[in-house]
Subunit: 571 residues, 2 copies
């Protein structure tokens, strides 16, 4: 789907939006026709080849390692599929305005999940009342669909499955590529239609046990995830429903049933199924969120392990999470839209709005929630940053209680990893806090902070209250978010099943900041938080203060690495 | 229980606390022995009869219609029972320090749920390592326990059921009164012990179908609510368990299974069972929260109607919700602790810390969550304010798009009801907001805002970001919270099952502000939010601005009533 605002409310949503006065796009960018990647290169000398000032991709708010559209509005990641050595990222896209509406599928590909090459628009509506809403993609290696000829290499037979939205209905359609994933042909007519206006977001995977395609899709306003089966991607039969679980909010969106490796605990080395499910609005933090349910899949029915609901991210800007189909090496990778429908249409970025989260490698990890309960939680770590690592700005293995200040020299994107240590038999208080404070340049005091408050459990928090006028003025820009995390002690074998009181207690906080987004990973991803923010006056992060609230805590294993912009310079 | 911080962490929690430097209490208040109500009366001339400056109950942060302890620290409401025409409020209380620890049961009674008379300490630990943790109370009308003689009137036979916590165990104990509810005798030994250190918060009710007492209690760190049955309150047998449902957080606390009337929908006029369940920490907003599950109770097992989890309050200061046993007239009343363990021990009030929420009349109401889904939600309205209503400061039935400013003259507590109206066929935008901004006196710009942003659904929000230095500096004092609410149209018959698009769309926002707490009720309680806040410089709410973000919205049916302080003047 395109939003979380139902089809019938599209007109309303458009009026909600706030285009920035004075924004004038080149006429070529107003076109909904397929676009080349001409607009992606970046001038290095401060001039713009396309009339934008600042030049495209050089804007102060523009993240340098997160994907964003050149111009206009993007939301959900769609059609994530790995094919022929490339990661495909399709995405909900309005090519004509910097707010939601006129939904297309934009398209980019990458070899490393960070450097993205824009491709032509993959799917566009046929009429003004249509929308190409969210969905997924798979590689139809065995040509089960009959849509391919023998000319197409098996690993390039991409089929996209998407929702066609119009004023009165939502139905599932497919499209396919005959040129290895650049252009897509629509298969005529719906492959699945049930006469509903709230039926969307098909996510398809290959079920090995039944040798069938399985689609998870949302009966959005009935709060049901419905599973369908097909042998050919065209003829679908209902299998089962997963109804009214977890947090309902206003509606369910973007279900994704995926398999992940398990690390630790009694199931170490096995695989598990996880149902990810987005809701919007009505999240506890307001607006949009992703919840998930670990469980079993028997080829027909998803059975969650328990009646509990868990959260994919503790902060407010992580929605429509989807995993890549066909990730190599048995790993699972996913990405989410790093925004929130409560404010996405009015955030002060231009000429684009919204970004995707960092790509994350995900797995289910044994985790002792409290001294008595062993759980499995979705652990998420950033996909390898090797290809974008720049200069190491600071590195230290020492353990001290000295605060540190580090100048952030680079493109505005930085990877910071700090391990805070509490010696054995030390009792934490409210002041036992270790924090990373990213300060803007300029004359104003603007900053964003993440930190850990030691205890059992420890809190990991993000505070964006002092990030400028948008944070101050928007009534939904919730400032302080937090999640709980248990200690990791210094023995790596017990990571995930910590024994906090004995021995040195360690918490590793990894913060990847990228101009207007902060993603925080506690203990290698056992807990993650994603928050966007918008400094005033064209400022970007310039200084990092690493501080401790009391001298019980020590700072050790500090590493600050500049990350290189992934946008290409113009030839 | 007393907290959400387990017994074994009591020592840690004490160290977490931050007593205010320079606070010196009269030695009589340091005593853990039963106290009279000598300290409750209020001087009218600014002098203190007990050496406090400002006098007790006159402090700038002290709510005037919400219950708070004279001094030191209070948390969960306990033992809520209606007996002999009085409402009893017991509460977790540390009589020796202004932070959690040394847990006793404080005690107050009321005829109207607002004017409270302090009674002697009801239950105190026998040793320094014991804690009298949370629990409940019932009237043992038929003397099933055998603890009463015929001298005691049937409706005065109160038995309290509580957790005795010590370093290595938590077990359930009972106590009873022989003087109509003033002093309590401990029944010797545990009535229920399972050798666990995480077994607490017994809530007992009379089950008519089995003619037994039923106890709901928490296996806190196993995430189980366990039900037990007894004929005499002394001998308990396990019935069933409700395991791993909803949001887990770090641990379950304070389960309460209660019966409520149903209003509207296909079950109109029937009754339903609701399981309320607190978790701390690990709430989505950080720290503490109350979730609930509507369902069926067959005398042995609680079966929720679905796998969903719902929230009792959209904001951050509503915990340990409990209902009164024996409420008259078939109604259900409850109250919660209006604070959050993430910051309760450091909030800038003195010489007391924390308050109870407003008493609320609760029921289950048919509610159309979206155009397709009919739900039943816990609706909560403040218990009748008739006995504390003061001057009407503003009243208007007119409908206008003029902003209004109203001077808040009185004791610092005000009941504001405003209906915002959207005419037929008008489409809301991001600016279609109606808001109530409560401004402090003094030279600084300090205020707290609640508002509605029209849409389908409408958002109701609270913004406490501009309430002063505590909000600015505490990393867990989350500022902006919101929930969703659907329109109520002008036909009262369809309230709760609104048809928003046709006809005039109405949202009624009721805000009860009381010096340092704001409770918001959307559409008569279909959605509620509770937020504490702390103005600097001894300021209290002085001015109310009622504003609209665009002129599509109209302001109508405004009523602003001053509420009279419920603390008695000294004789």
């Amino acid at each position: 789907m395109w939003s979380g605002i139902s089809a019938s409310l599209l007109a309303t949503a458009l009026l909600f939006a706030s285009p920035r006065p004075g924004l004038s796009l080149p006429s070529s960018l107003h076109s909904a026709s397929p676009r080349s990647n001409y607009d992606q290169c970046v001038t290095s000398n401060g001039t713009s080849p396309y009339g934008f000032n600042p030049p495209l991709y050089k804007e102060s708010h523009r993240p340098q390692i997160h994907f964003s559209p050149s111009t206009n509005f993007m939301n959900d990641p769609n059609g994530l599929v790995y094919s022929n050595g490339s990661w495909h990222l399709f995405y909900q896209y309005n090519p004509t305005d910097p707010y939601a509406g006129n939904q297309h599928w934009g398209h980019a590909i990458s070899k490393d999940l960070y450097h993205w090459e824009n491709l032509p628009m993959a799917l566009a509506p046929e009429t003004a009342t249509e929308g190409i809403f969210s969905g997924s993609a798979i590689v139809d290696r065995d040509n089960t669909s009959g849509l391919f000829t023998e000319d197409q290499p098996a690993d390039q037979r991409i089929v996209t499955i998407y929702t066609l939205n119009n004023k009165t209905s939502e139905e599932q359609h497919i499209a396919y590529t005959l040129d290895g994933g650049v252009t897509f042909q629509k298969y005529p007519g719906a492959v699945l239609s049930i006469g509903s206006s709230q039926f969307r977001d098909p996510k398809v995977f290959w079920d090995k046990t039944t040798e069938s395609w399985v689609m998870a899709t949302a009966h959005a306003q009935d709060f049901e995830v419905v599973f369908y089966s097909s042998k050919d991607l065209k003829d679908w039969t209902e299998l089962s429903r997963f109804s009214q679980h977890g947090i309902l909010g206003y509606q369910y969106e973007c279900p994704d049933l995926f398999e992940v490796p398990i690390k630790g605990g009694s199931k170490d080395g096995q695989k598990a199924w996880v149902l990810g499910l987005s809701i919007n609005p009505g999240a506890p933090l307001g607006g949009s969120m992703v919840q998930y349910f670990p469980g079993d899949w028997d080829g027909k029915t998803f059975t969650p392990w328990d009646g509990a609901v868990r959260f994919a991210d503790f902060s407010k800007d992580f929605y429509a999470f989807q995993t890549w189909s066909g990730s190599p090496d048995g790993k699972t990778y996913g990405i989410a839209w790093a925004s929130n429908w409560q404010y996405t249409n009015v955030v002060p970025t231009q000429p684009y709005r919204s970004i995707q989260s960092l790509p994350r490698e995900i797995y289910l990890e044994a985790y002792k929630t409290n001294p008595m309960f062993e759980d499995y939680v979705l652990s998420q770590a950033p996909a390898s940053l090797e290809t974008i690592k720049g200069e190491t700005l600071y590195q230290s293995g020492e353990c001290s209680s000295q605060n540190k200040t580090i100048e952030l020299v680079g493109d505005g994107a930085f990877d910071v990893q700090v391990t805070f240590s509490l010696p054995p038999n030390v009792t934490a208080t409210y002041q036992t806090i270790g924090s990373l404070n990213f300060k803007a340049g300029g004359n104003k005091d603007q900053s964003i902070t993440t930190g850990v408050q030691f205890g059992d459990p420890t809190f990991v928090y993000i505070d964006r209250s002092k990030t400028g006028s948008f944070a101050s003025s928007n009534p939904f820009m919730t400032d302080k978010t937090s999640g709980i995390l248990r200690y990791s002690n210094s023995n790596p074998i017990t990571k995930g099943v910590p024994t906090p009181i004995q021995g040195e207690s360690l918490v590793t906080l990894r913060a990847i900041i990228d101009r207007s987004v902060l993603e925080v990973f506690g203990n290698d991803g056992q807990l993650t938080g994603t928050s966007v923010f918008f400094f005033d006056d064209d400022q970007i992060p310039k200084t990092l203060d690493i501080s401790i609230g009391d001298d019980k805590i020590k700072i050790k294993n500090v590493e600050v690495v500049a990350l290189k912009s992934t946008w290409p310079e113009c030839p």
